[in-house]
């Protein structure tokens, strides 16, 4: 049982994520999470105003089912399969974060400084989370996919466009972590 409660190793986790992608291929679909954002916009009626959302989104119901399952899986894993040994990140990383007033994980997935319910009392924190979301939504649709569609599916199918996108992901991520986060935190 300890094996389940502790952090899963990178090789087991990576292998299972690969299998998730392959099982969707076996079911005649393709692995990609960000396209659900487009589907949800269409579901909310965006297709009446913007052509991009006027498409056969009902054919994507299977992907919304994957999302529903993933949300449930996250709930079960967070509430029933976790313990305080989790998120044992590099002590050097913890030190760096403390210098920016970000609390250490101690088993938590997310720092309270950025994600506790107190953020709802801080306009700055709300703004940061919404802007982050806007960049994720806009960027993934512009690039035609996110980590699942490009980094996992695309690279394993040896797609050059996906390699370009993943290089972009890392350029953006490195700029954020090394140059922008120290300024805004």
């Amino acid at each position: 049982m300890e094996l389940i409660y502790h952090t899963w190793s990178w090789y087991i986790s990576g292998f299972l994520i690969g299998l998730v992608m392959l099982s969707l291929i076996f079911f005649g679909k393709n692995f990609g999470m960000s396209s659900n954002l487009r589907t949800l916009c269409s579901l909310a009626g965006a297709g009446k105003k913007v052509l991009f959302f006027d498409w056969d989104w009902k054919s994507q119901r299977w992907n919304l089912a994957v999302v529903a399952g993933a949300m449930l899986g996250g709930f079960v894993a967070t509430h029933y399969l976790s313990d305080v040994s989790n998120v044992a990140i590099n002590p050097k990383t913890i030190e760096q974060l403390q210098a920016m007033n970000i609390d250490a994980p101690n088993g938590k997935l997310m720092p309270d400084a950025l994600f506790s319910n107190q953020v709802f009392e801080s306009p700055k924190s709300i703004f940061i989370l919404i802007i982050a979301g806007i960049m994720i939504g806009f960027g993934s649709r512009y690039a035609g996919g996110c980590t699942s569609g490009h980094a996992i599916s695309g690279l394993s199918n040896l797609q050059l466009p996906s390699l370009k996108a993943v290089i972009g992901f890392f350029i953006g991520g490195l700029i954020m972590v090394h140059f922008i986060l120290p300024l805004i935190l």
């Binding site: 952090t7 899963w8 990178w10 986790s13 990576g14 299972l16 994520i17 690969g18 998730v20 392959l22 969707l24 005649g28 960000s34 954002l37 487009r38 965006a46 913007v50 991009f52 299977w62 089912a65 994957v66 399952g69 993933a70 949300m71 899986g73 996250g74 998120v87 050097k92 994980p105 997935l109 997310m110 950025l114 994600f115 709300i126 989370l129 919404i130 802007i131 982050a132 979301g133 994720i136 939504g137 806009f138 960027g139 649709r141 980590t147 490009h150 599916s153 690279l155 394993s156 199918n157 466009p161 996906s162 370009k164 290089i167 992901f169 890392f170 350029i171 953006g172 991520g173 972590v177």
Partner: protein, 137 residues
């Protein structure tokens, strides 16, 4: 009923991403600081598993569960959209510490503040839809 298998695949995906801590803001920060191999290991093994699986599918022309030939569409060739979109995505990924899969997973896990990120992601997707034809691709 046909949707149950997809719910199940998603369920496993949600558990694995949470237990691998790939949904953790800390792990993403640590990855971009090059202070741990964990996330790189996950991505590499996932890609390697997928690569081997797809090669087997192509070599033996395997069929999907309904007996139809498996066809994995190629990504359309371009450069600007992948690099520019990729950089914008990466900025958001590192700031929120999560990509679209983990956003949904964390909302499901009960992190109320992630609803703000999800809301932003829907707005961002909508903005792309509005300006799609004016953007270089």
């Amino acid at each position: 009923m046909k949707l149950i298998k997809f719910i199940l695949v998603g369920f496993i995906f949600g558990i694995v991403l949470t237990k691998a801590e790939a949904v953790s803001w800390y792990r993403i920060y640590e990855m971009f600081q090059f202070q741990s191999f964990h996330m790189y290991g996950i991505i590499m093994v996932a890609v390697l598993t997928g690569l081997i699986g797809i090669q087997i599918i192509k070599k033996y022309n395997l069929k999907d569960f309904s007996g139809a030939p498996i066809c994995i569409p190629d990504k359309e060739p371009a450069t600007v959209r992948y690099i520019a979109g990729g950089i914008i995505f990466g900025l958001g990924w590192a700031l929120a510490g999560s990509c679209p899969g983990p956003i949904f997973i964390l909302v499901g896990s009960g992190f109320t503040s992630m609803i703000l990120v999800l809301l932003g992601a829907l707005i961002g997707t909508f903005i792309y839809g509005v300006f799609k034809d004016k953007l270089p691709h």
